[in-house]
């Protein structure tokens, strides 16, 4: 998808220029004159970048920047663009949160390149390989553009070696196709320059030539070309060689690439003379630099606080904070120490110049010298800084990789430990399952035999037994029956812990109704009076919650055995985040001091001869409710009934 850029500038020239430059670079551009129009555009949808003038007919750009920053959407990068009259504007803009501040007159390539950087999304991949074509013939350029575009490449063109090198630095193409014969620097020189730039060194380059001579090919390859194609060979050959070249360079670069030597540079010029500043800035902009200007040492320091630069040109003699003092202040700051600083001096300031160098300046230059020398010195300083940065970058990268390797090792060990624990757990679960299975199978068979043969004796030998003998056999059979129920309950209890849950919306009213019907059937002679309030649906496992309802209701029926009638009431209460269900009876109740024992496995508060039971039912209830993320509790008074409550959350459970 195309990135949207909103340009807000009252100058028609600037709008037209930026619209053209940014559209050519693949952006979708909306250009408006006033803040009112800008607000309309922003209200329609988000932009990926805003380029904002500071002085606008209906307001102040920095105020508008503040307004953008309060918008609820994701932060949009904002580039302020303004006439560099007051360094205060630059400082104010950057402090307000501008992502960049570009002075007018601006360099088009510089601005487009920054726009690319500011709109780059993390981890983004180029949609198609991007090829740079450098050729002075418009015919050849367009022919190549057409062929390559049809083959699925993105193409940019340049008509001179110098322009090509700048494009290469700013746009980082996947490959370069360069004509050998160019005005200005020739193709071989372009390749050599690329090979000298660490960031572009690995860029595959194809040299195109009209010449037939073998000597030319040798020159081209000597210069570092990866492929050499004669124009007569035709477009298919160019495409084939380009494909091969890109495949060969497909291996990932071993180290993440630092900024290129040719990437946009910002220079801070500090001088109290407005005239000299303007001349200097003009000269530097002609070289493609972005220039920030400060009229005093104090202004320079303020500006550096908010915007780093690539080099400082500092006048030695200034009112207020002197050049030497400014230089010392800059070099004292650890973040600025590596920033090249060139002292500008008059010829007769030898002493002061030495003092400046002692204060930490990296170079000095006399103001009277021609700008050719200044530009060369500046390039030298920028190159030095670049190399230092590359070295630091490589050191950091190596450190980072080492750290990653250590972290990866740690993560692997952790993962291995985890997976062995999981395997162990899995094994234990299988063992438990096998155990439950054999309990269910193997313990039942002998019980059946005990009960079965007791029954056989009772049938076959009844006349040979006296009353005591018959009574003993009856007791053996009763005990076998109890043991059978215990085994069944225990298995049901373990199954609730083992099996997965099937989650859905559960009809509690229906579950309660079914349980009541069953209880009435099992106790046809008992006077049972049930009252059931409207019960809401809950999210959970229907068959498990059915067990909860059955257990609580059958307990209520069991423990109200002596009551005629037995009153049993089921109610629900809506509470924040949960629903509480209650089952109350008017039965024997229980002693509240034993409440904590109610829900434990095999815990019973009544003697077996009073009420039969295995002591598993309430433990099962608790286990099921807790698997639903809920709670259970109970209230009771001896002889005055009991109430059992369980709460189920309203949030949907994660299986």
């Amino acid at each position: 998808m195309k990135r949207r850029v909103l340009v807000i500038d009252d100058s028609l020239t600037v709008r037209g220029d930026l619209e053209e430059a940014l559209s050519n670079a693949g952006f979708e551009v909306a250009a408006v004159e006033t803040l009112a129009d800008a607000r309309k555009i922003l209200a329609e949808g988000t932009c990926d970048l805003v380029v904002l003038d500071v002085l606008l007919p209906d307001g102040d750009g920095v105020d508008f920047l503040r307004e953008i920053r309060t918008l609820p959407c994701a932060p949009t990068p904002v580039m302020l663009l303004s006439t560099e009259s007051e360094v205060k504007d630059r400082i104010r803009g950057l402090r307000t949160g501008a992502d960049d501040y570009v002075g007018k007159p601006y360099d088009r390539d510089w601005l487009v390149s920054r726009a690319r950087e500011l709109t780059r999304r993390p981890g983004e991949k180029e949609p198609a390989p991007f090829i740079l074509v450098i050729d002075d013939s418009p015919t050849v350029r367009e022919e190549l553009r057409g062929t390559l575009t049809r083959a699925g490449y993105e193409v940019a063109t340049a008509d001179s070696g110098e322009a090509g090198l700048r494009l290469a630095a700013n746009h980082r193409p996947a490959a370069v196709i360069v004509d050998s014969a160019l005005p200005g620097i020739d193709g071989a020189t372009v390749i050599r320059r690329l090979r000298q730039d660490t960031a572009l060194r690995r860029l595959p380059v194809m040299l195109l030539t009209a010449s037939e001579g073998r000597g030319f090919e040798v020159t081209a390859l000597d210069a570092g070309a990866d492929a050499y194609v004669r124009k007569d060979d035709g477009m298919p050959v160019v495409l084939a060689r380009l494909g091969a070249m890109l495949r060969a360079s497909g291996a990932p670069a071993p180290i993440a690439e630092p900024a290129s030597l040719g990437s946009p540079k910002r220079i801070l010029a500090v001088d109290d003379s407005e005239t000299y500043l303007q001349v200097l800035a003009g000269q530097l902009r002609g070289e493609g630099y972005e220039v920030a200007m400060a009229r005093s040492g104090a202004e320079a320091l303020q500006l550096l606080e908010v915007q780093p630069v690539d080099c400082v040109l500092l006048d030695l003699l200034m009112p207020g904070l002197s050049g030497t003092e400014t230089c010392r202040a800059i070099k004292k700051n650890p973040g600025w120490r590596d920033m090249p600083l060139i002292m500008l001096t008059a010829l007769d300031e030898r002493e002061a110049m030495i003092e400046g160098i002692n204060a930490g300046a990296d170079d000095y230059i006399t103001k009277s010298a021609d700008f050719e020398v200044l530009r060369a010195r500046l390039r030298a300083q920028l190159r030095r800084k670049q190399f230092e940065e590359e070295n630091r970058h490589i050191r950091e990268e190596l450190g980072r990789r080492e750290k990653e390797a250590v972290e990866e090792r740690a993560a692997r060990v952790l993962a291995e430990t985890r997976s062995s624990l999981m395997a162990e757990l899995e094994k234990k679960n299988l063992e438990l399952e096998a155990f439950s299975y054999s309990v269910s199978h193997d313990l039942r068979a002998p019980l059946r035999a005990i009960d079965g043969y007791c029954a056989a004796i009772q049938e076959d030998c009844a006349e040979r037994l006296d009353d005591a003998g018959r009574g003993h056999f009856a007791r053996v059979r009763k005990a076998a029956g109890r043991m059978g129920r215990l085994i069944d309950d225990l298995l049901a209890f373990s199954r609730v812990g083992r099996l997965g849950m099937t989650l859905a919306s559960v009809d509690m009213q229906g579950l309660v109704g079914a349980a009541i019907a069953e209880l009435r059937e099992q106790n046809p002679s008992r006077p049972l009076e049930f009252t059931v309030d409207p019960l809401p649906r809950v999210h959970g496992d229907s068959s498990l919650l059915g067990l909860v309802v059955q257990n609580l209701l059958s307990n209520a029926v069991k423990y109200s055995a002596g009551r005629a009638p037995a009153f049993i009431r089921v109610a629900a209460e809506d509470r924040p985040g949960e629903t509480v269900f209650s089952v109350r009876d008017n039965g024997v109740g229980f002693d509240p001091q034993y409440t904590h024992k109610l829900f434990g496995v095999f815990q019973r508060l009544h003697r077996a001869d009073e009420f039969e039971g295995t002591g598993v039912g309430l433990a099962l209830v608790k286990r099921i409710v807790e698997r639903h993320g809920g709670r259970v509790w109970a209230e009771g008074t001896p002889g005055a009934g009991a109430a059992f409550h369980f709460a189920i959350g309203k949030e949907a459970l994660r299986p």
Partner: protein, 141 residues
Amino acid sequence: MTQESVDILLVEDNPDDADLTIRTLRKHHLSNALRHVRDGEEALRFLLGPEAASPLPRLVILDLKLPKVDGFEVLRALRADPRTKTVPVVVMTSSREDKDLEKCYELGTNSYVVKPIEFGDFAEAVARLGLYWILTNSVPR
């Protein structure tokens, strides 16, 4: 024809369960044509071997946990063979596990009965299924 006609084939390794089952069937006069085998291999030899029973029993009562060849394998083999694919099989087991139940139905059992522990219930279950499959049910002959 070396074998007498068999109505019920009982495949049960537990002598007590077998004895109590036969006792119950005898009470209901269903044990006259009963054959008891003690493992799956014997069951398969009886039904599918060179001297296989003919005609087929009217009912196979099959335990799941058996020595040598277990009940699942017996069921699978019976359903895979054209001669026995329709023979009525009732699985009678101690296992209440859902997965056993599902597996037996997938393999094509006609019925699945969990052996009750209490003899009264057990005897009732055996009598009911014997009466149903031998007296009520019709099978293709």
